[in-house]
Amino acid sequence: MRKRIVRTAGLVACSGLSGSVLANGWNMPVGVTDVSREIHSLHMIIFWICVVIGIVVFGAMFYSLFRYRRSRGAKAANFHEHTTVEVIWTLIPILILVAMAIPATATLKTMYDASEADLDVMITGQQWRWRYSYLGEEVAFTSNMATSRSQVSGESAKGENYLLEVDEPLVLPVDRKVRLLMTSDDVIHSWWVPDLAVKQDAVPGFVNENWVRINEPGIYRGQCAELCGRDHAFMPVVVEAVEPERFDAWLAERKEAAAQEALGVDREWELDELMERGEQVYSSICASCHQPDGSGSPPAFPALAGNQAILDDPDYHIDTVVNGVSGTAMPAFRSTLNPVELAAVITYERNAWGNETGDAIQPADIAELLDDE
């Protein structure tokens, strides 16, 4: 333990050098976790090692370039081998590398120890949003970019957190160890928040593990780091770190709301309420591919407006949304959306943009379908 403190102190002292030289916004953030601090220190140590080597090597080079110009009358010497020198400049780099590998190994071991977490959060990447689910707590939601398209196109002024703001941030408690489990519904994404020093690929069909213990409350922003298709740039991550008491209160509130929505499954829903709820779901989940006006972008993303295949056959429409279409970009939404959301969005798609089937798909029917399968 004592050794560890000494080592950490050494790292911090070394990285302190950097603070004045490289102001914020030019360098890797120190971050708000113990791991992020250690990584920042490793980064600064290896950086300064490179600077020192660079001064020596380039110094020798530029000295030679000025001193031994033919225009200054330099005559070439005739040496071309020196075994001792060669051995020395092979061994010294090895020693430097070993010295560097030791703290790096220790940090890596810490980063890989995700055991004894207080809270498990499942993070699922989807083109192009994140879905967060607090395991064992029945609380789950999707987090979409909140920056408007008019800011992107330049029709309106860009806000302070342009491209780095979401409709619902991931809320996490400070001072608790949170295990982050990552997966994806479609292509590979990568969940990254620089201040937390967590970057982990979300790979479809596999679950990756990382963890974080945040030291300071605050809002930390990042984005998807792995090219994931068209809107890769528009898939931000926002983490709101709050005091544990506030977190517990927030979680209880969200559980209550989820329970309320679950009750709604059993009752009969009017077309208007379904349309209203459906529009919300559509614009946050479906519009990025099928477009807000349902026109799609064929051939990858078919139009929904006037799409006779779905309009003529409600069962086919429901099956497509619930189970996805294998081998295409259409994911299954059965585990992403609840029965109310599924029924509402299908109803919306069957009645918006001139699709006037008049069908009101009932959440109870969807729930039954999900139970049967």
Binding site: I46, L65, R69, S71, A74, E160, Q200
Partner: protein
Amino acid sequence: MASHLPPRPTAQQNQADAGGMAVDEHHHYGPRGLKRWLLTTNHKEIGTLYLIFSLTMFFIGGIFAMVVRAELFQPGLQLVEPEFFNQMTTMHGLIMVFGAVMPAFVGLANWMVPLQIGAPDMALPRLNNFSFWLLPVAFALLLSTLVMPGGAPNFGWTFYAPLSTTYAPPSTTFFIFSLHLAGISSILGAINIIATILNLRAPGMRMMDMPLFVWTWLITAFLLIAVMPVLAGVITMMLLDINFGTSFFNAAGGGDPVLFQHLFWFFGHPEVYIMILPAFGIVSVIIPTFARKRLFGYASMVYATASIAILSFLVWAHHMFVVGLPLVAELFFMYSTMLIAVPTGVKVFNWITTLFRGSLTFEPPMLFALAFVVLFTIGGFSGLMLAISPADFQYHDTYFVVAHFHYVLVPGAVFAIMAAVYYWLPKWTGHYPHTRLSQWHFWLSVIGVNLTFFPMHFAGLAGMPRRIPDYALQFADFNMVTSIGAFIFGASQLLFVVVVVLCVRGGEKAPAKAWDGAEDLEWTVPSPAPLHTFETPPHFEPHRH
């Protein structure tokens, strides 16, 4: 002249089927015009074809980069849609790697390996013709995807599955076919280079007497033969996933997307050394010439090159530190990657010691070679930082990585290629390149390259991911500087074309030994080198190394 050579099978065949035209092996015979270039088996003509092809691709790939930089000039989407932006980054990478840098080195090898070892031609001249003519076909096919429905490949030059399989545009099958063709071309070219170097050296030239450019290419050719089949395998698996219902990389069918990355980088990491080892060779030939002093540590240079080549097979997963590797794999790949710094360091120290107590002049090839040493080393430093696996969790997939690999590829590989062109232009054309224009080209390139790629380090460290068409406001200044630098660098390459064209058409006449410190065999033949050289093998005096 020809009587000194062993009888060739072609001569026998020509006598056997000497119908209509009186065909003989005499070098004055040959078709004219387009057919001359289509059918040529001469290493110098094929070398020229490779170099012209490479320069063309360099400009096409460069235009794609200019589109990317224009869009990134300021935040917001101004010029292109994200779909097209992704096609531009992807095509830029593919064209530059497979169409510009690799063929440029093969072109230089075609021209210079026979001349440096005193061979009359490549060992397999017809195969040589075939290797080249596969390339225009492959890249015409690849470029044609830009006008196909659904657009060109848009999944990055690393084409990670399943973005490049289940979620890919229909043109991906064409992309796979074109990469197969380019791969076959590389394998055949590599076989040819190995056969030439092992069999056709001048009498008296031992392996350890070969110029370093020849050595580095020999090792590179083995790397190519080892890894191009792996690339062929992985793209064939993609082809099957896309068109034949297999699930190699589709988790829903029991496959594994990460398997793709292991296979890709098992090819991909040796591939990046394929693009730098011949550059080491070029610089190791040029620096002694203009230092007028033998290369320091010739043997250790050869061993360092071989070590780097062997290590290149053991480091692939450092591209995958955040995909969820087990701890032991992270540690193994971190240590093996750090080790590469050792032989690479030896090379840099040897170059600098060659300069030390030399008699230096700064002709254009030397300027580019010296810039290579400095700027490649900067790329090496950021490579060492990236090797530190815990820190890579922050660096990975950011502009820091983009800065790193552009430093080793542009002022690395590309500057070495330009150094080689300036160095050997007198031998190819009989004229020296225009000095003042060459210097302008050099300084504009150096300024442009650093203005382009140095700010990328800061953008990456500050948190900007790569491959995004739009970015948060705190990255705006870095991106604007980068874009300005990119435009300067791009425009200054037009000057390069001017210099080359002027040099082909005229200029100060060069003697056989165009540079007074140059010692290798190519400087014993006239400038410009006649179409056929060393028909009688020269006698090689092993005095230099």
